[in-house]
């Protein structure tokens, strides 16, 4: 079996004045990777490139160890994909839409789909345009799960959803990876969801990957430091994304262990960062 369920090497794509450059991502089986970035950073483009819905300029994408263009059909049969705005026939019922969608999958399991409808509390006789945003997302997810995918690729699944549905989704994803051969790759700008269940985190900014690591390692080694503005010069060379006012400064420190050994930190306030903090300081201009 291949080493990585998803492997992206040197992926590039330009259109207009946007450029996705030299993207590298790898995800092993059994884990969840969160893909974080601001709107317009290149998350959706990267995902569409993986799905071969947009043609790449250069680079290599392998899913299940196979080329994503040459073995597109093989791959799509084993990938569950939910786009940011799932496409349905809005005036038709859930059941009608599913009858349409299931033809595209060799391994469609209708019994499983019916089971998921009950579990997600979806009324299949309702028209799509009568469903709430959360219900629509869950319908798309139920379709994505019903052909026994090994890899789930979700583009902003939690955006615009209330906390209850978001939490429900996290539960569904955790259940999915109870099978250690399965993985999830999901993009979000709501980092708290990824902070909970993500095993790995990849940050993207202006078309470039700026950090891709085990989440726990990041949250353990990186710290937010705050201090009096007059002291900022003492530490400047090791601070990332300094935010400064007349009275205080706040910045990110990458290797806190080394930082602690190098400086007297007794007058600084040290905090655990959130993934939001890390994104914010890493993408701050001037770094």
């Amino acid at each position: 079996m291949e080493d990585n369920i998803l492997e992206i090497r040197g992926l590039s794509k330009s259109y207009g004045d946007f450029r996705l450059s030299e993207v590298n991502i790898s995800l092993t089986r059994g884990y969840i990777m969160g893909f974080i970035g601001a709107n317009g950073a290149g998350k959706t483009t990267t995902i569409k490139l993986i799905m071969n819905m947009v043609k790449k300029d250069s680079g290599e994408i392998k899913v299940f160890g196979r080329d994503h263009v040459k073995d597109e059909l093989y791959i799509k049969n084993k990938v569950g994909y939910v786009s940011e705005q799932p496409v349905f026939y809005e005036n038709e019922t859930v059941a009608w839409n599913v009858n349409f969608a299931k033809k595209f999958y060799d391994r469609w399991d209708h019994a499983l789909f019916e089971e998921l409808l009950i579990k997600f509390k979806i009324d299949k006789f309702k028209k799509i345009n009568q469903l709430s945003k959360g219900m629509k997302m869950k319908t798309a997810l139920a379709i994505a799960l019903s052909h026994h995918p090994e890899l789930l690729i979700l583009d902003e699944p939690t955006s615009g959803l209330d906390p209850i549905v978001r939490d429900e989704l996290l539960g569904i994803l955790m259940e999915f990876i109870q099978d250690e051969n399965k993985s999830v790759f999901f993009s979000s700008h709501i980092t708290s969801d990824i902070e909970k269940i993500g095993d790995y985190v990849t940050f993207i900014d202006k078309g470039k990957i700026i950090l891709s690591e085990e989440k726990d390692t990041i949250l353990e080694e990186w710290k937010i430091v705050k201090g009096d503005a007059i002291q900022v010069d003492n530490y400047k060379q090791d601070l990332i994304g300094i935010e400064q006012t007349k009275s205080y400064f706040k910045a990110l420190v990458k290797d806190f262990h080394a930082f602690k050994a190098k400086y007297d930190i007794s007058s600084l306030v040290i905090e655990k960062p959130s993934l939001d903090d890390i994104l914010l300081h890493l993408t701050k201009k001037g770094n």
Binding site: Q178, E180, K196, D199, E214, K215, D216
Partner: protein, 125 residues
């Protein structure tokens, strides 16, 4: 098994899980031979990443508190009473050390610490 985790806690999550399970074992709430939930099951129950639980279990195993039987899962390790007593003493010493060093840092006099300590001993034992 109760696992207490909190985002407000300064300890990393894996350490909170490690400490919770260790406490349950030392208190005798989890007995030798008791099965622990699988790594993935516990991750799902707590809605926490698999890697975090993995690390907690790995450290519990390294400290010989639990054992992994391939294909069967994780179990609380056998240990004799002497070992548990010594582990408990170790934990107590660690906590006392913490308190004493805090007292020292904040300028509390040694004799005052002794007085408080003796008072608590009198009351509790």
């Amino acid at each position: 098994m109760f696992i207490s985790i909190s985002n407000q806690d300064p300890r990393p999550l894996y350490e909170q899980i490690y400490d919770s399970i260790k406490t349950e074992i030392l208190k005798g709430k989890l007995m030798p031979g008791d099965a622990l939930p699988s790594i993935r099951q516990l991750a799902q129950d707590l809605k926490i990443s698999v890697i975090t639980i993995k690390r907690a279990y790995l450290e519990l195993e390294q400290d010989k508190l639990i054992i992994t039987r391939p294909g069967k899962g994780c179990f609380v390790a056998d240990r004799d009473i002497k070992e548990i007593t010594s582990l408990n003493l170790h934990e107590i010493e660690r906590q006392i050390r913490e308190v004493v060093s805090k007292a020292k840092k904040t300028g509390v006099l040694r004799q005052n610490v002794e007085q408080i300590f003796n008072k608590v001993l009198e009351e509790e034992y």
